[in-house]
Amino acid sequence: MSEDRYLELVPLAALDALDGEDRAAFEAHVRDCAACQAELRAQQAVAARLGTATGRVPPSPVLRARVMQAAEREPRPRRGVGPLAWLSVAAALVLAVAFLVSRAQRDEARREAQQAAAERDRARAELDAARARLAEAEAVRELLARPETRTATLAGLAAAPRARARVVWDPASREAVLLASGLDPAPAGKGYEVWVIGTGAPVPAGVFQVDATGRVVFRLPVRDETARVKTFAVTVEPWMGTPAPTGPMVLAGAAS
């Protein structure tokens, strides 16, 4: 694709209206193209102003108190660090959520331990869950930090044009993590199954569900095929998984 061709995609990208191959190609290109980045910022500013022209409608008066009370329950904001790479942001988010959850649970547990043993057990279980999430996030971060780690970009297919994902994996240890966004919650009784495709038939590599915002950070089980993977793919399957793909494919990408 020529430079002009990418610049032509910028107005569509600013409206988040790209999909399919255009989207995958543009996202891969814009990371390293200062001209497209500058143009994208200018067009995003135009898109953002569309919103400011929408008629203003005051919400009901009680909402203000609801918002301020919700902010009251939140920890005071702490100034963040500068822009990070997309992957680090995903990993940092997982860490931050785990940290906040764990801290909140700890404080809560302190108060409630004085009140009731049952309450304390519940807090403990949630703390364990937070610790497990933190360990998961640490594992992801550790994998990302290794020099041998490779990355594949997966584009959303017709069944999920907004979806996008990356798989990072270490061919030597066969550890792999998939980071996806833009997926709708799987239909009832279904899940998203990952496939590692090397020299033979697709090898199943776990089933995941996405959160309410359509995102997931998923650690793939260790598979020998990961050492010689050519393609990663994701299909919609029964939630317990199937030995071979049967449902529509939502994401695919070459391990180039």
Binding site: E8, A42, L50, A53, G55, R56, V57, R64, R79, A212
Partner: protein, 186 residues
């Protein structure tokens, strides 16, 4: 000397003009009163946009709550070089509202289809400028941009909805956005 005092004047003026930005800075430092003032200034903007996208009063107000909690958590991410506080809040509100719209579509629910309440607050000069720019688009161009902006449709989805070739839609949106940009720079 004269130049120096002019610069000082310009600086003071800039500080007074950018009070929404000052409120965002105070919010980033954990000042809840500043968050309250941002709410007073921009809640009806966020609500109007969320309502236009979701057409559901209760859901729009949930979005407004999410928007201001996100402002509370992430006020330090506001970058004045990339737009006004208003535009930033609109970007957050649109993204939150479209997330809900897509979940609703995924659940195959129909939109509540309530009538939009009339905008009760006078539009700002900036809003009028944007409306004038949008009015300069052809009907086809405006429709395509609105499907992307307010319904969150992708280029293929818009082509399908309008029953036109993908290439036509891409060109149309590109032309419309260029035209808006030109009109707004004037």
């Amino acid at each position: 000397m004269a130049a120096g005092s002019n610069m000082g004047g310009a600086l003071r003026l800039a500080t007074a003009d950018s009070s929404a930005e000052a409120l965002l800075r105070r919010t980033a430092d954990g000042d809840r009163a500043a968050l309250g003032q941002l709410y007073d200034r921009f809640a009806s903007l966020a609500n109007g946009l969320a309502l236009r996208i979701l057409r559901d009063v209760a859901e729009a107000e949930d979005v407004v709550q999410e928007v201001f909690l996100q402002v509370w958590r992430q006020a330090d991410r506001f970058d004045a070089a990339r737009g006004t506080p208003e535009a930033w809040i609109c970007t957050i509100a649109r993204s939150r509202a479209l997330d809900r719209l897509r979940r609703r579509v995924a659940r195959k629910e129909d939109s509540a289809a309530v009538d939009l309440p009339a905008a009760a607050e006078p539009a700002t000069d900036d809003a009028l400028a944007v409306r004038t720019a949008v009015a300069s688009l052809s009907e086809d161009q405006r429709r395509a941009v609105e499907l992307a902006y307010y319904e969150g449709l992708t280029q293929s989805e818009i082509a399908q909805r309008l029953g036109e070739p993908l290439g036509t839609i891409k060109t149309r949106i590109r032309t419309a956005m260029m035209r808006l940009r030109e009109a707004l720079q004037r």
